[in-house]
Assembly symmetry: C2
Homo-oligomer: 329 residues x 2
Amino acid sequence: MRDVAVRAGVSTMTVSRVLNEPGKVSEEMRERVLKAVREIGYLPNHLAGSLSSNRSTTIGLIVPSIDNSIYTQTVKGLSEVLKRSGFQLMIAESGYDPNEEEELITVFLSHRVGGLVLHSTEHTPQAVEKIRKSGIPVVENGNIPKEPLDMVVSYSNRDASYAMTMHLGRLGYRKIAFASLYSVHNDRSQDRLKGYLAALKQLGHDPDPRMVLETGRGLAAGAEVVARVMQSVPEVDALFCAGEVLAAGALFECQRRNWSVPGRIALASFDDVDLLRHVSPSITTLRLPRYDIGERTARILLSRIIDGADHLRGSIVDLKFEVIQREST
Amino acid sequence: MRDVAVRAGVSTMTVSRVLNEPGKVSEEMRERVLKAVREIGYLPNHLAGSLSSNRSTTIGLIVPSIDNSIYTQTVKGLSEVLKRSGFQLMIAESGYDPNEEEELITVFLSHRVGGLVLHSTEHTPQAVEKIRKSGIPVVENGNIPKEPLDMVVSYSNRDASYAMTMHLGRLGYRKIAFASLYSVHNDRSQDRLKGYLAALKQLGHDPDPRMVLETGRGLAAGAEVVARVMQSVPEVDALFCAGEVLAAGALFECQRRNWSVPGRIALASFDDVDLLRHVSPSITTLRLPRYDIGERTARILLSRIIDGADHLRGSIVDLKFEVIQREST
DNA sequence: CCCGATTTTGATATCGGTAACAACAGAATT
DNA sequence: AATTCTGTTGTTACCGATATCAAAATCGGG
């Protein structure tokens, strides 16, 4: 930068101004400086800038696992909006582990990120403490927590699950089973279960522990879960899989075993991915605002950081979802 | 840091040493400093550290699109290895556009990343120039380019495509069609086509332009492509889809139209994802070392950055792939 | 027990910018 | 014409760490 300043015959301060607040510099200076910048091929040093101004254009994002098609839509939304404002994303995986998450938060804080986005809504007390102390804005994304850290942009897992279960009930299914990922350290799964149970109650169905299943990730887990429930409760007539991979796995297993869907058993899913629309029968599911969550998260974070919009502190954005009725129910 | 130093009654330099080169500090000092660090809850400022030492623990990664299950495995490999060495990943999407890529490279350079990982192997001349000038290590990931920028960790798209086409030929298929994504600005597609054509030649089949198809992304594109080739060349007996989404889309379309697979038409895919194993018929495909690519990329980059392993400059790691024979062929 | 070698610690400059305020010129006000 | 205001540019200090080299402490050997 010094070189640019010398070449343009101005002070470094003027160069800095041309680059950051062009309005405050006269036409003539601006051109001289920009010319020098071009000639030298000068690249500003963001590290120095952030250090000096105590402002950072980096946002830290922690997702449970990067290779999950669900998060990628949100990441895309985030990334696209942030990029437009010259912000960058630092991404890390917590592997569904709150301690790992805490570690990553520490790393991001020491990188002095301007904001944090957390997909999980379960954190260690130390993590909460560190975030509070840092004072940077945070958005939680994966659920609507009881005690938000700061801002929240999400849909309600409970409400979505409730809506789908009610939908199945209204379609006339009497024995609706529910499958989700293991719910330890996963309040999304827990809330989905709550929604299911609340809907059953509303429908006047009796909950049956044999029809509430938990399993791991992957298509194989979906296959396993549908086989399991068909065996233990032969009269089951619908299976609501709280996860699109589980649902797809369940469908493939039904096809293999020649269980007609929805004739023998109806299938419903959580989250709308391309796959569910293209299999036959196409699968009834919930459309969740994954991309929007990313977009809104970015916007609200930028408002806080750039405009200092302190009135947004603690705001909760509960985005809409939709039940998509298809052939599988 | 100053606070810590005062509290421990030492100089900031000693604090810095305790944190970065504990071996060079006496037992006693180390404990005093660590105690003070804990008491104050001190978080080192990475920005300041990087600026001062001119070393960065951030790696920039540019992928064409984040929401592509193919890249996520590589990202995971990268991320896991980097994390172990305390490095962070900055991720951005180029949207398959070299100009956008150049822009992002500039941004990353101004963030003073310690290294760059590019999935694309096509770059603007300015991008190449900037990278050269910066002197930081770079790994290209998506293909093995004719003129590497620096290091390469990849498999050969051409060889993989050749291998699968030969495999189909050896299985006895006589009319093998080929479908890929649009090949403009996409040398992966181009190389896959080359491999296909080379194999046809080797097999003594005549290439037929009606059997070389290009299309967009998504399951619908796969459906469209199989319908198109069946109509224009009814005697086609195999379709090699250079992309796992295309292959899945093609299979679903076959199921819908009751074209038996592989009886009426065989299907082969590129890339091994869980889905292809679980559909019926399961789909013959190529297993590519996606995760390994990430892992190796991270390792080689770290060697360059931490150990200054200059002999690795320009090295090319050509990773192995595998043909997975399944029910669809 | 002293001297040079080695290890440990500290003082200072610096990394590349920006904040804060000072200096100055020309325009507007009185 | 003197005064105030406004807008532009420069000066200086500092952001929070590390590199470098000097100073102090420790050590081993004659």
